[in-house]
């Protein structure tokens, strides 16, 4: 028994030592434990999976998007071989020639719609549960920004295949931007990249879709998940086991006087 535990100790040290080394410098192990080994209310159930479902759809978008970026070419110049715009030809090649390219493109295309739907459902659930109330106001606000950024990602991605649908929807979109007061015309001119919407515009929309908006949304999602973990998920408000439910008066006064001083910092 003693010999065995000594061996165990060695193995444990071999595994734990590097983890400890990392944890001492970054807090990564403590952070992971903090994220995984926490309690959630007992009555949390399927309705509260919509957020992580949206996250999954976003991860699908990230992975398929990276693969598409390896084969897609954002240029509206005419390809001398196919006689079509280079962007369009690269989309044709991804769909028709690349092994499973159709699946990657199809998943990216439909994943976008699924992502938007899940964001709306998730928001509806949070609204129904009143889960945006104290202390989760900032979680809600980052969520609204995630929805707005997600819709902008959808809009900028729509142009990239450079087909008729994409092109004309974008022309309308740019003209719509132009109707905004003050910055509108300037923004429209920037997005159009010249009198004719062509390669300049395509490169700008590609940069927005590939770099700016994903960067923004990943940052927002990070803050959002941190806040969800820190503040906890709220129970269904109609649940008889609701975490934080009001207790019969006698018990309530007892609990309150003890906890308010400890938790809230007083008044």
């Amino acid at each position: 028994m003693a010999a065995k535990s000594k061996k165990d100790l060695l193995v444990a040290n071999a595994i734990l030592a590097p983890l400890d080394w990392v944890d001492e410098r970054t807090g990564a192990v403590r952070g992971t434990k903090w994220f995984l080994f926490r309690n959630v209310p007992r009555d949390v159930s399927w309705a509260q999976t919509l957020g992580s479902a949206a996250l999954t759809a976003f991860i699908v978008q990230t992975l398929t998007g990276v693969i598409l970026a390896m084969y897609y070419e954002p240029s509206s110049s005419i390809d001398p071989i196919t006689g079509k715009p280079i962007a369009y030809s690269s989309i044709e090649a991804i769909t028709n020639e690349l092994t499973l390219g159709w699946l990657v493109r199809g998943m990216h295309r439909w994943g976008a719609s699924v992502f938007i739907i899940l964001l709306f459902l998730h928001m509806g659930r949070v609204f129904l549960f009143g889960a945006y109330k104290y202390p989760r106001e900032l979680t809600w606000i980052t969520g609204v920004f995630i929805l707005a950024t997600g819709m902008l990602l959808g809009f900028t991605g729509y142009l990239l295949p450079w087909d008729q649908t994409a092109y004309w929807a974008t022309v309308v979109g740019i003209n719509l931007n132009g109707t905004a007061p003050f910055a509108g015309p300037w923004l429209a001119q920037f997005l159009a990249g010249g009198p004719e919407i062509g390669s300049d515009a395509l490169a700008k929309w590609y940069a927005l879709h590939m770099l700016v908006l994903p960067g923004a949304i990943i940052g927002l999602i990070g803050v959002h998940i941190y806040l969800v973990t820190r503040l906890g998920v709220s129970s269904p408000p109609w649940s008889s086991e609701e975490a934080g439910r009001e207790r019969p008066p006698v018990q309530t006064t007892g609990t309150r006087s003890g906890l308010v001083r400890g938790g809230g910092g007083g008044d």
Binding site: T95, F127, A148, Y158, L176, S234, P237, A243, G244
Partner: protein, 272 residues
């Protein structure tokens, strides 16, 4: 009742944390199990959509989930009805409701901005502690009305029909006769370009067209200016204070001249 809202809120949350700690269930593995099942379903749905989309369509030939792609973008021939992705249909349809020039910005900027502000501000103007839906009648009615109006606008946007240039061009002889420019080949050529270049996706003319984005009726536009003015206008609408309409300079001087002649000849049926 001396205690303020902030204090009550903090008490509620302290009780929440206490309950979760004492009677909650571990996130890992209990709650994360639900999340994993749901994520698996999400990936399956996305894959199924991609497979159905791919196998039901063929190139530009659409299946039930649309084509792989439409024809390559071509700024020259605008015989195409602009249509955004489905989640912008509500905005797309709002534009048809606010179609007078002075009101376009209400649909394009005003309503979306107000909507976004209302969403961001929600936790600040709805400060009650009550979370049960049945005890929040105002919030629930507002939510139902929002969902209904978004659904109706999306549905209307999805089913809105706009005439294709190929159908409109058959009306040119009728326009030429009624406007009295049938003997002017340049104006007839301009009318054909007008029908095919998507002008009627925004403008109206002789009872045709969408009336989008506040674009005016052009049936009697010829009474206001001459052909050279229209050519300049088409080349750079922004120079005339029109930031909604894009430039049509890419059509080329010859086509623009024909369009100018057509517009100048469109003096309305009454002044023929």
């Amino acid at each position: 009742m001396a205690r303020d809202l902030g204090e009550l809120n903090r008490e509620d949350f302290a009780r929440y944390k206490d309950d979760v700690k004492k009677e909650g269930k571990p996130f890992f593995p209990r709650a994360i199990f639900h999340d994993t099942v749901m994520s698996f379903i999400v990936v399956c749905v996305i894959t199924a959509l991609a497979v159905i989309w791919y196998y039901d369509a063929d190139g530009v030939k659409p299946g039930i989930l649309g084509p792989w792609y439409t024809e390559p973008a071509d700024p020259g021939t605008t015989d195409f009805v602009p249509r955004p992705d489905w989640y912008f249909y509500f905005l797309f349809y709002l534009l048809r409701i606010f179609k007078w020039p002075e009101t376009v910005f209400i649909a394009t900027v005003g309503i979306p901005t107000i909507g976004l502000m209302l969403l961001i501000g929600l936790p600040f103007y709805d400060r009650r502690r009550e979370r049960r839906p049945l005890h929040r009648p105002v919030a629930m009615v507002a939510a139902v009305l929002t969902i209904l109006s978004m659904a109706v606008l999306t549905w209307k946007g999805a089913t809105a029909k706009e005439a294709l240039g190929s159908e409109l061009v058959t009306l040119v002889p009728k326009w030429a006769e009624e406007q009295g420019f049938a003997d002017n080949p340049e104006a007839v050529k301009g009318a054909e370009l007008f029908a095919q270049s998507g002008c009627l996706n925004c403008h109206t003319y002789m009872g045709q067209g969408a009336g989008n984005l506040g674009a005016p009726n052009l049936s009697e536009i010829g009474a206001t200016n001459d052909a050279s003015y229209f050519v300049q206008y088409l080349t750079n609408p922004a120079a005339f204070g029109n930031t909604v309409m894009g430039s049509y300079a890419y059509l080329g001087q010859e086509n623009l001249a024909a369009l100018g002649d057509f517009l100048a000849a469109s003096k309305g049926t009454s002044s023929k």
